[in-house]
Amino acid sequence: MNWLRPFCSLALLSFLPSGLYAQQASTDPVLAAMQQELNRSLQNLKKAPLPPYFLSYQLTDNRAIQISSSFGALTGSTDHNTRLLDLDLRVGDYSLDNTHPLRDSGPSMDFSDQLERQKIPLENDPDALRVALWQETERKYRNAVQKFQQVKANVQVKVEAEDRSGDFSHEGPETYFEPPAPFSFDTASWEQKMRKFTAPFAQHKEIIENSATVIAEVETRRYVNSDGSRIQISSPFFRIIISATAKADDGMELPLHQTYMSFRPDGLPAEAAVLNDVNHMVDVLLQLVKAPLAEPYTGPAILSGRSSAVFFHEIFGHRIEGQRQKNEDEAQTFKKKVNQSVLPDFLNVYSDPSLKSYAATELVGYYPYDDEGVKARRVTVVEKGILKNFLMSRAPIEGFDRSNGHGRRQQGYKVVARQSNLVVESSKQVSRPELKKLLIEQIKAANKPYGLLFDDIEGGFTFTQRILPNAFNVRPTVVYRVYPDGKEELVRGVDLIGTPLIAFSKIVAADDQVAVFNGVCGAESGWVPVSASSPGLLVSQIEVQRKEKSQERAPILPPPPATQTK
């Protein structure tokens, strides 16, 4: 797919005879080597006592240019090429195989994939590639046979699982081919830009930490499996992440983040626009440092569209990921709620990886095929407040035995069902000022001194580190008190608590200011780009407490001077 093409020509592509794809695909030496080695492995392993019933290879080529700065100085500039192999080999059958979770076995301590990972040639020599594929197939086969024995024993000794669905879904073959996407990025000029983007933070002693990173990457994923699927997807991805933390006199740390993401080279904002946002960040940080501390509070609140989007992604979106309904260590909040009301009847929620833009904003949760070679499709999750469906990978759950194209991973991780583009829509809307009026009515009715407005929430995302964080944190960063007379006052140190799900049942109205949040979400299967979109929401009751503040004092000495003092 080429992102520069207008949408209609993309639609046109799908009418081309499939023969053409096959032709293009077969001239790709890497894809051909993968197919050859897959066939040879299946053939040879047939003779083994426990032959695999499924085998897939996914090679991910990634070139990533990453440039970082802090307080106006360059801190890093790298340009890396990687090629990673993800190999799924299954022995047993669709109903019970080596991937079946072992119960009561404690957390998995299997780091063999990280420690013994086969290096993959970056160059397209078919022989070298096939040796690497062969090595990894043999290693995975040995592990799979061993694991399957454990699974069989575990299933026999434990009580019957509550969910008796199988381990893998039947899916048909898919063929899809995109040529490697063109990629260009002017490293030198971006190094200069990144210096400019963080220079304003250096002017203020209150700002103690700061970084800006641009990541320009192009990724080509090639996939073949024993179902007969053969897929090649290629796209660039551009991101800028700017973070800054101010420290109040009492030691409280106040972070702010600004991100921009796009699949298009021209999709990142112009320099002036970013600088404008940076100056705004500086202003808000300086205001936050002086802002009064929030008090513990229970009462009505508005979540801006952006806050609602993050809130839905973190609190709702992760709970509709299929495998969480099956794993007996999970809370399984929604398992028994299918066809029951989980949201007010004016709200609809769907997840649509095939959607490229929404509310005039590009969506980074787009992809044509997921990481198990299943075509991406729209899933109606909640219709008129009633829970209808889950996001599914090829791991079935009771009542949902097929994938709906949501099996995703970062290269090197095991696939699980993940979000793509989560969209929250309301069938009744009011204007933003109207929503504020409704809030004030609620404040008065509840006899509260003020209500809250959550303007921005920091989602569970981080960009530079690949260590798994607690991805489900929801930390409000910009919060205002709204007084009955309409006056708004910035406060700091707000921590959202209580049972988040109760908040969903207390949603009473939505505005017409739909906001899109593009982010990179980290969970079991690594980091994947996602989006969430929502109108602003009025919630009749929300609970906050005061944030635990850092015990670290501000630095003892003032920041050093800009030039040498003689």
Binding site: N44, S69, A73, T75, E123, A128, L557, P559, P560, T563
Partner: protein
């Protein structure tokens, strides 16, 4: 009295002179250090009595290949800074203390918080800012640690009064950055070419060639007046190959070479023929006979002598201080862990015999080469800014001292100038002998001793294998419960028969070797070889797990003659082994 007055004046003069030549990072470091020293104080608490700033400029090019195809190409440039803050005084300060209570919150991250990154730009203010923030954090942590340490000491009777930090003479030394330029393309084509050797050997299942050029440039300044800059380029070539015997026994070998430049390595045709020879040997090993239990004399020839010496003996030569803790169980655990990992220190053996009387050992950082072969541990200044010097470690078999940093232990009250990275490490280890034998004489002596025991053959080891990095990996695997399969077999072992015939043996390993075995070396060769490898002190490695990648791993050269041990026990590696592959290599059919 007079000279004492002149010294500070002279220092001040030197400092001014040096200032003229300082580059921007060094200026920033000196200015921030002076400011911190003069002004840094929290309320009425202690000011720092010692501050040290370090900046490592690391330019690195890493290239890997397999079967003629690149698998990695990674140039990188980073600047790591380290800040050392000491409060209290030389006798008792915040160091040598581990708080188990705070382990949960600060944990490992807290231990390594003294390392952070600085901007790549020569931006005066931002480099100062990096040191400013790091100093502030470390100073606060130091105050907390010192008060916790004092509290912990009050709870018990202190049995030792060894100071926490030694006083050393300030040093000023400058060296320009190394001009060594290795082109990336040069590395790539060399890696491709060497790795392509294995295209012709489908029965060698995995192979790789890694070429790495690390150009370190260190800037250092401390509050005692020491200033240095030091260039340490390191070039490393590693060729690995692995296969399995028909019974599953893993067979692996490697060639690891170091230099300051690419030209320190043997020429390409020599590298290619050495690679081919290794490949041939691995193929032969796959169907070689194995050995049952062997008790008797063993000869370690050439490189194998250096390997066994550095792996099994040299690790004990470091003076490692047991840290004080708020939980006395920690100190017990620490000492147990040290001995379990085989890295117990020889500290209690000082004055005792550790080698035969005809052998002596010294650590010599001032020797640039040995008979024309470059030594990689050579340096004039260590990471604490202490002037390096030769240290006689073992004199006629008797252990005299250990290698130490500015953290003293009972028997070693001063630094020997051996702080390298995370702790003490050797530089160049030189074994000398009062008597030596030619290679033929050694073999004759070996066979004579075997015959005396009624053995019809003797054992010669020519490659030990599994260097520090490999055993470090295995330790990581074991900790991750992967149960490291097989693996410790000696890489190249022969049965030597009385008629001079050699027979290659697979899967032999040494049973329970201890440093005591080195006392019973009965003869040594007359042509020592230079062998160089990375040195990860075993105990230190546990504490640097999280930052292994970012620390300058010391490279140690050793000059050791062939060693004939009176008696060692060799046993057969019994596995369990992974199954051999089911499919043949895709290269096999062609």
């Amino acid at each position: 009295m007079r000279s004492k007055l002149i010294a500070p004046l002279l220092l001040a003069l030197l400092a001014t002179l040096a200032l003229a030549q300082d580059d921007i990072p060094m200026q920033a470091m000196k200015d921030e250090l002076s400011r911190s020293l003069a002004q840094l104080q929290l309320q009425k608490l202690d000011k720092p009595y010692f501050l040290a700033y370090r900046m490592d400029d690391i330019n690195q090019s890493a290239v890997s290949a397999m079967l003629g195809s690149l698998t990695q190409e990674q140039p990188s440039h980073m600047r790591l800074i380290g800040v050392e803050v000491r409060v209290g005084d030389y006798a008792l300060d915040n160091s040598n203390y581990v708080s188990l209570r705070n382990f949960g919150s600060g944990g490992m991250a807290g231990m390594f918080s003294s390392i952070s990154q600085a901007p790549l730009d020569d931006n005066y203010q931002q480099i100062r800012r990096s040191f400013w923030i790091a100093t502030d954090t470390q100073y606060k942590k130091a105050l907390e640690d010192l008060s916790a340490k004092r509290a912990a000491l009050e709870m018990r009777k202190r049995t030792d009064d060894i100071p926490d930090f030694t006083r050393e003479t300030p040093v000023t030394e400058t060296e320009p950055p190394a001009r060594v330029q290795v082109t990336f393309d040069e590395l790539k084509s060399l890696a491709r070419e060497i790795s392509a050797v294995f295209r012709g050997t489908p029965d060698i299942y995995t192979s790789s060639v890694d070429l790495e050029f690390r150009n370190y440039y260190t800037r250092y300044v401390n509050s005692e007046g020491s200033v240095f800059t030091r260039a340490q380029p390191v070039f490393k070539l590693q060729i690995n190959a692995r296969s399995q015997a028909t019974g599953g026994l893993p067979i692996s070998d490697s060639i690891v070479l170091f230099g300051r430049t690419l030209t320190d390595l043997p020429p390409k045709d020599v590298l290619l023929s050495r690679t081919r020879a290794m490949a041939d040997r691995i193929l032969k090993l796959r169907s070689a006979p194995s050995l049952e239990r062997y008790n008797g004399p063993v000869l370690f020839e050439d490189q194998a002598a250096s390997e066994i010496f550095t792996q099994q003996f040299a690790t004990g030569l470091m003076a490692v201080r047991t840290p004080l803790s708020d939980d006395s169980r920690f100190e017990m655990f620490f000492n147990q862990m040290m001995s379990q990992l085989g890295g117990g220190s020889f500290v209690d053996k000082i004055g005792g015999r550790v080698l035969p009387e005809f052998l002596s050992l010294s650590d010599n950082p001032l020797m640039p080469d040995y008979k024309g072969a470059r030594l990689l541990g050579t340096t004039t200044i260590d990471d604490d800014a202490v002037k390096t010097r030769e240290t006689k470690l073992v004199d006629h078999g008797v252990l005299k001292t250990l290698l130490a940093t500015r953290v003293p232990v009972r028997a070693v009250p001063h630094s020997t100038g051996n702080r390298r990275g995370w702790g003490p490490a050797p530089t160049n280890l030189i074994v000398t002998s009062e008597k030596s034998s030619s290679s033929d004489e050694l073999r004759k002596e070996l066979l004579r001793r075997a015959k005396d025991r009624g053995l019809d053959y003797a054992i010669v080891v020519r490659r030990v294998g599994g260097g520090t990095a490999a055993s470090f990996m295995r330790m990581a695997m074991r900790m991750a419960q992967q149960g490291g399969q097989g693996g410790d077999s000696l890489a190249e072992v022969y049965k030597l028969y009385p008629d001079g015939r050699e027979e290659l043996i697979q899967g032999a390993e040494i049973a329970e070797m201890t440093p005591a075995a080195f006392k019973d070396i009965v003869a040594v060769g007359d042509t020592p070889v230079v062998f160089t490898d990375e040195f990860i002190p075993r105990v230190g490695s546990l504490f640097s797990l999280g930052i292994a990648a970012s620390s300058n791993v010391p490279v140690v050269s050793s000059v050791v003659p062939s060693l004939l041990f009176e008696e060692l026990t060799l046993v057969k590696n019994e596995g369990p082994f992974p199954n051999p592959p089911i499919s043949p290599s895709p290269l096999a059919k062609q």
